[in-house]
Symmetry: D2
Subunit: 253 residues, 4 copies
C-alpha cells in the first residue's frame, strides 16, 4: 500500500482533516501531522527560529491512523512528518474549511503545506471545501473524490515544482473541471458605515469585476458553477523575460 | 510630484516603514497605511468577513506624512489606502525586518502588500532587510537605494501582473544584482533534543543543500554575497503545460 | 429542564467542548457558542472595536444540540450566546485542553468565558483537563463529573462575582477536593542552550519552589495528587486595605 | 541609582514603551525587555513549552538604554529580563496603547507583565494610556507622572502579592485619584446589522449600565473624568468564605 502524509491548516481537530485522512486510509497507509488546535500558525513558512514539538495524539479521533500534533505552521507539519515518520509517496493537505482560489493561493496555509511536500520532492495535492451560504460544510463528496484523485496521482506522478490545488463546491458537485488560477478580486468597492459609537468602519465589498470570474475555465468560475476545480500549480515566481531589461536600468551603487 | 502609498507587514510603529516613508518623501507625496501594532495579521489576504478601521494616527512619528492605522492585513492596508486616500502612482511595502527570499515569497506579508498593489493595476515594490548576525537592522543604506529604484520604476513602469521584490543585505551593500527567485531550502535536517523536563523537541536545521543557494544569480545568493537583490516577480501560478494532460486523466464523476 | 450555555477557548471543533456539551445535554437544554476554529482569539476580552459573526453550524458534530460559531474571543461567545439565544440558567466553559491553575487563571480564555457569564449575573463554571505525560486527554471521567456538579450548582446557585474553576487530573480521578488558588510558579530557573546555528536560546524551566505546590489544599496540589480540584473564585482585584495609605502618598499634579 | 526593568505588551517598537523607558532613565538604571514586533503574544502566561530568544537590539531607538527583544509574552519578557540581566528594584510595564480598566485587568498583557514582576517578589506597576476620540496618544504627561510615582514606590515598597495599575486619561490629566477596580461593562446591548453581502453581523455596543461606571472612585470613572487613576491590585482569587460551604455539597466520587 502507498504511504500518504496528511496535513492541514485548520488544526488536528478540524472535521476536514478527519474526512480526508479516513478517505485516504481506504487504500493507503496514512499518517496525520497537523497543527495543534491551540497554536495560531503565525505565518506559513518553516519555523527555524524555535524548535517544535511533534506529539502523538490518540484523542483527535483518527482511530487506528497515527496522528501527530505540531506546535507550528502547516509547512512545519509536513517537514516534521516527512523526517520523523518516513518519506511518503504523496502529501495531501486539507480539506480546508473554505476555498483557496485565485490570488488567495499565495497566502493559503493549506497550499503552503502542499508546497512544502513539493519542495521535498513529493507529489502534493491541496484540498479545500467551499461553505454553503448558511456556513455549513459537507466533506463527504469531496473526500470521496480526493481518494480517487490521489490514486491517479500516485500512479502518474507530477512534474517537478508542480502541485495540484483542488476546490470542492459547497453543494454536491455536478462535475469536474481542470482549471487555471483565476484573477477574481474582491476589492472593487469599499462600503463605509458608522458603528454604534459613531466611529467609521469600512467593508471591502462588491462582486467581482475581473474578466474571468465567471469563466468555468478558472478555479473560481468552476467552483461557482458547482464543479470540482483541479488546478495544476507551478511555483516559478521569476519574471524571467524581465531579467535582462531590469539589469539595464536598476540603479547601481 | 508622484504619489506613493507605503504599507508594511510589521506594523506602523516598525522602524523599517519609517525609514522607507521618509526616503520616499524626499521626492514624492507619501501616504502611509499600515497594520495596527496590536493586531496580529492572521493571514495575508483581503479581509472580507469583517469590516476594518482606517484611523489617522499622528503618534506614529511620521511627521508631516499622513499615516493611517488599519486593524487588518498588509493587503487590507493597500486596498483601504488606495480607495480612501486616492490612487497612487506606486505602492511600496516594507522595509521588512528580515529578508523575503526563495519560496518564502509565497507567505510573506510584505510581498502580499505589493501583490495587492499590483492586482489593483499599480506598480509595486516590496523591500526587506536582512538582520546582522547580532540581530540588528540598519535601514539607512536600503532606504536610500529604495528611493532611487522607486524613481526609476515611476519613470519606466512595470508590466502587468509583475512586481519587484528587493532584499538588502545586513551590512552596507557591495553592489546590486538583478536575480531570480532561488530554491534555497532549510529543511534538510532535523535536530532532536530534550527539554529540561525530558520531553523531546525538534529543530529544523542545517545549511542549504539546494544547488543554487550560493549562486549570486538567485535572490538568496546575492544577499548572501552582500549585494542588493532585485527580483522581478510574476504571479502566474498555473502550470499551463499540464492543463491538457491533466484533463485527460483526472477522474470524472 | 434547565438551560445551559456551553462555551470554550479551544474552538468549536475541540473534543473537550463536545464531551462537555453532551454530558450537559443528559439533563438540560444545551446551546453551544464557541470560537471559530480559524480564528485565533487575540486576547480574551469583549470585542467592541469590530462586529462579530454568530453562525449556526451543523458540521461541528453536536447532533441535536444547537451550536454556533463566533469569530471572536471566549467572552464574545458568552455575550452573543446569552443575548442571541436567550438567558441560560448556567454558563459552563471547557473542557479545556490543559489545566488552568494558580496564577494562570488570570490569563485563561476558559476562565474568561466563565467570568463573562458571572458578569452577566449567571452562575458559571470553568472546566479544564490535565494531559497525560504522553500528551493525551481522556474527557470521559471529567465530563461525567461536570454534569453532576452542574446540577448541584443549578440547585444551590453561587454568590455574586463568584465562579467555580474545576480542573480534572490526567488519569481517572481518585477523589474530589475543594481548593484554594495555589501560588505554584515555574520560572525559578532559566536553562540556556545554543541552537544548531550557534545562537543562544533559553528555557524557562525548573520544578516549583512555591511553598504550597504540593499542598492538596491548592488547585495545583490537588490535581498533582490525582484529585478533581474545585476552586471557588471571586474576582475582586482591589487591595482595599491599601486605598487609604496609597491616597496619602501618591504624587498629586 | 535604582534598577528598573521596563516591559510591555505592544512590542519593543511601540512609542509607549519608549516614553516610559526614557522617563525612568532620568533617575534609574533602566533595562528594556519587550516582545518582538513580529511575535503575536499568544496568551499572556509564561512560555514553558518552547524556548525563547533574548536578543539585544540597538535599532529600537532606546539610545543608551540596553534593550532586548523576546519572542514571547509580556510575562516571558519579565522572567528573562530578571534572570538574564539581574534583579531589578522595580518592574514597570507599558505605557499600553489603550486603557486597562475594570474586568479587563484579568486579560491584559500589560498587567500580566506586572503580575510576573510581583510574583518574583519585585514591586511592579502597570501603566496604560487612553486614546483620544480621534485615536491619538500623547504619552508625555503620563510618562512624567510615571517617573514620579515610580520613585515613590521605590522608597515605600508595596505589600506582597500587590501591584499598582495606573491609567492615564486621553487629555492632559486634571488630577490624580486612588481608585478601586470598577465593574463597568460594555455588553448590555447587541446591535445586529447586515453586511454588503446580506449576511448578519453583531456589534457588542451600548453605554455602561453598571452602577459605578461614573463613580470617580473607580478606575473607569476616574479616567472618564480626566483623572490619572492609581489602583492597588491584589491577586487573591480564592473566595475563601465559600470553601467550607462548597466542601459540604460538591459531589464526591
Amino acid at each position: 500500500r502507498p504511504r500518504i502524509l496528511v496535513a492541514n491548516d485548520d488544526g488536528i481537530f478540524s472535521p476536514g482533516i478527519k474526512a480526508l485522512a479516513q478517505a485516504m486510509s481506504t487504500f493507503a497507509d496514512v499518517t496525520v501531522s497537523a497543527p495543534d488546535v491551540e497554536q495560531s500558525a503565525v505565518g506559513h513558512g518553516i519555523t527555524i527560529r524555535r524548535p517544535l514539538r511533534f506529539k502523538h495524539t490518540a484523542s483527535a479521533g483518527f482511530g487506528d491512523i497515527p496522528a501527530y500534533r505540531v506546535d507550528g505552521t502547516p509547512a512545519d507539519c509536513v517537514v516534521l512528518g516527512v523526517h520523523l515518520t518516513g518519506q511518503p509517496d504523496l502529501v495531501v493537505s486539507g480539506i480546508n474549511l473554505g476555498p483557496n482560489l485565485g490570488d488567495d493561493l499565495t497566502h493559503s496555509g493549506t497550499v503552503a503545506a502542499a508546497i512544502e511536500g513539493m519542495s521535498l520532492g513529493i507529489p502534493a495535492i491541496a484540498f479545500s471545501q467551499q461553505a454553503t451560504p448558511a456556513g455549513e460544510y459537507d466533506f463527504a463528496p469531496g473526500a470521496a473524490y480526493a481518494a480517487r484523485l490521489a490514486q491517479e496521482v500516485l500512479t502518474r506522478g507530477l512534474p517537478p515544482r508542480t502541485l495540484l490545488n483542488v476546490n470542492f463546491p459547497a453543494l454536491p458537485p455536478r462535475g469536474v473541471r481542470v482549471t487555471r488560477v483565476g484573477e477574481h478580486r474582491w476589492e472593487d468597492r469599499i462600503v463605509t458605515r458608522h458603528d454604534p459609537e459613531g466611529r467609521e468602519y469600512h467593508w471591502v465589498a462588491g462582486t467581482s469585476t475581473a474578466p474571468d470570474a465567471h469563466d468555468e475555465g478558472t478555479d473560481y468560475g468552476a467552483v461557482d458553477a458547482g464543479l470540482i476545480s483541479v488546478t495544476p500549480v507551478r511555483i516559478d515566481l521569476t519574471a524571467r523575460d524581465l531579467l535582462g531589461e531590469l539589469a539595464g536600468y536598476v540603479p547601481q551603487l
